[in-house]
């Protein structure tokens, strides 16, 4: 299997607190990698380092290497904007732009980067919404506000918004944490569909979810990566005592 993202000796700081400690991990192309671990262990921080979003928080710092297809995204001549276009992100709480229509939410990444051609935009918007399994539900109200949708639809809108800029990697930060079970299963189906085209990293609180959707799983604890491997092995035969305690529900 081809390797897409390689993280070596990654450390992330908030002020002087080290939130990630020497993380090493290799993320393979076109599979789903799940990040699990108790609250506050650095899961969000970790994926926010992969699209260079950690640095937009004041007083933060990153050290170490993150290679995307062999190139260090933190090297000084790399523009973070380019990286963020290649690596999309879906957040914990659905966050469509409230002042934009459904159409403009999806088109935002292109429009605000100067793409004006109407035909092209129409095509991308429809394609992205189809891929996010939302087209049929919104095609008749494409000019309604993005926040008029239900929570689950809003989250799929956010996914479509990401897809529109044609990323290679998709990062999901607990995408179902605020959704009901039906919306959750829709998002899970969608993730399984999307992995045909994209490399996916998903942070989740829910271990069944990790088991259902992921191929690889990494277990984080207190800013360290404790164990990483095939999902099935992590869940059936964890090597580390702490992983075992966590997945059997002894803490977390």
């Amino acid at each position: 299997m081809e390797e897409r993202v390689r993280v070596s000796n990654l450390n992330a700081y908030f002020g002087n607190t080290r939130a990630l400690k020497d993380i090493n991990i290799a993320i393979k192309a076109k599979i789903v990698t799940a990040i699990i671990g108790p609250s506050g262990c650095g899961k969000s921080t970790f994926i926010r380092c992969i699209n260079r979003l950690h640095e937009v928080v004041p007083n933060t710092k990153v050290s170490g290497e993150v290679l995307l297809d062999g190139e260090d995204i933190y090297s000084p001549d790399v523009d973070p904007i380019e990286i963020r276009r290649k690596i999309g992100m879906v957040f914990q709480k659905p966050n469509p732009f409230p002042v934009l229509s459904i159409y403009d939410n999806v088109a935002a990444g292109l429009k605000l980067n100067g793409v004006k051609k109407k035909d092209y935009l129409d095509e991308i918007v429809e394609g992205s919404l189809r891929r996010a399994a939302l087209w049929d539900e919104v095609k008749d109200k494409i000019n309604a506000s993005g926040v008029s949708l239900s929570g689950g639809q809003q989250q799929r809108l956010c996914i479509a918004r990401c897809l529109a800029v044609k990323p290679e990697v998709l990062l999901f930060d607990e995408p179902c944490a605020s959704l009901d079970p039906i919306s959750t299963s829709k998002i899970e189906e969608l993730i399984l569909e999307l992995k045909k085209y994209y490399t996916i990293v998903i942070v989740t609180h829910n271990m069944q979810q990790a088991a259902r959707v992921s191929d690889h799983t990494a277990f984080f604890l207190l800013g360290e990566m404790i164990e990483f491997g095939k999902t099935q092995e992590i869940f059936t035969a964890p090597k580390d005592k702490r992983t075992e305690d966590y997945i059997t529900g002894r803490f977390g």
Binding site: N51, L53, V56, P58, I81, E82, I83, R84, R85, G88, M89, F91, K93, N95, F97, P98, V99, L100, S101, Y103, D104, A108, G109, L112, N113, N143, S145, C158, R161, C162, V165
Partner: protein, 283 residues
């Protein structure tokens, strides 16, 4: 006696008191509107909007030049105070978590508390003395100075209320910081910012003191923006303290028109932004 009954009675009493207080605050507002309307409406006629002031004793005459003058002064003040205030507000909210930001914030709050007549003197020294003439420009400078702190601070507050996650969503799409701020953050905060601007306009529309030695007033049409210009508050002031009944009637009419102008500006802008928000895609 049981406490439940006592609580119920107390609750009723407090409700009545709260209602009474709310009503009392409305009384002055309504009586001012009613009084100005009643006194002013009698002298409102087409002449009032189309004619220049007439000398004492000649009947008729109007405030056309003062109405236009006030609109020009408001327009000129907005022209420089709105961009400056908004850009200042963006600075404070996005880059202002440092010493410079604290200083600017403090200065703006102090400026907000400076009596408007002092600002008038400042504009007089800066513009009127070197140019050797009262002028519309100096008046608009003084009025703009009064607007800026309000606009800047409301812009800052409104931008701060836009959730972090919205900025992050935009940045994560590979949208530049600049575009994110202008097209997402600023746009989301626009209704609130507009409210701040309207408050600022409402405040300067009635300012008289800073215009006394800047715009100065003019009985005729102004020929250019570097000359004295008429303004409703000045005209109202001169007419209201005059001993002539006719002039005093016109002062009431002027006050009425001034209130209507402020109301219209506020109403129209809200209407425009309301339209804008119902159909978000038709930019």
């Amino acid at each position: 006696m049981n406490t439940y009954k006592r609580r119920k009675i107390a609750s009723k009493l407090m409700c009545a008191a709260a209602f009474l207080c709310a009503f009392l605050t409305l009384v002055p507002l309504i009586s001012i509107f009613g009084y100005v309307f009643a006194k002013g409406i009698a002298s409102i006629n087409p002449d009032f909007f189309t004619n220049l002031p007439r000398p004492v004793g000649e009947p008729g005459g109007g405030m056309s030049n003062a109405i236009v003058g006030t609109l020009i002064l408001i327009g000129l003040s907005c022209l420089w105070a709105i961009p400056l205030g908004i850009i200042g507000g963006i600075f404070l909210s996005e880059f202002g978590n440092n010493k410079l930001g604290t200083t600017v914030r403090f200065t703006a709050d102090v400026l907000n508390g400076v009596p408007s007549i002092v600002i008038g003197i400042f504009a007089y020294t800066l513009f009127v003395l070197p140019m050797k003439s009262f002028s519309a420009i100096s008046g608009a400078f003084a009025l703009g100075m009064i607007m800026i702190p309000t606009i800047m601070r409301t812009t800052e507050e409104m931008l701060r209320m836009v959730p972090r996650t919205l900025r992050e969503a935009a940045l994560a799409l590979g949208i530049s910081q600049f575009r994110t701020t202008v097209s997402i953050v600023l746009r989301t905060a626009l209704p609130g910012i507009l409210t701040g601007i309207l408050l600022a306009i409402a405040r300067i529309a009635g300012e008289t003191a800073p215009l006394l030695f800047t715009a100065f007033g003019n009985r005729f049409w102004h020929q250019s923006l570097t000359q004295p210009i008429a303004a409703l508050p000045l005209q109202i002031f001169v007419y209201a303290i005059s001993p002539f009944d006719d002039w005093r009637r016109q002062a009431w009419a002027g006050a009425f028109v001034l209130i209507v102008i402020i109301f219209l500006i506020s109403f129209i802008s809200r209407f425009v932004i309301g339209l804008h928000y119902k159909s978000p895609s038709s930019r």
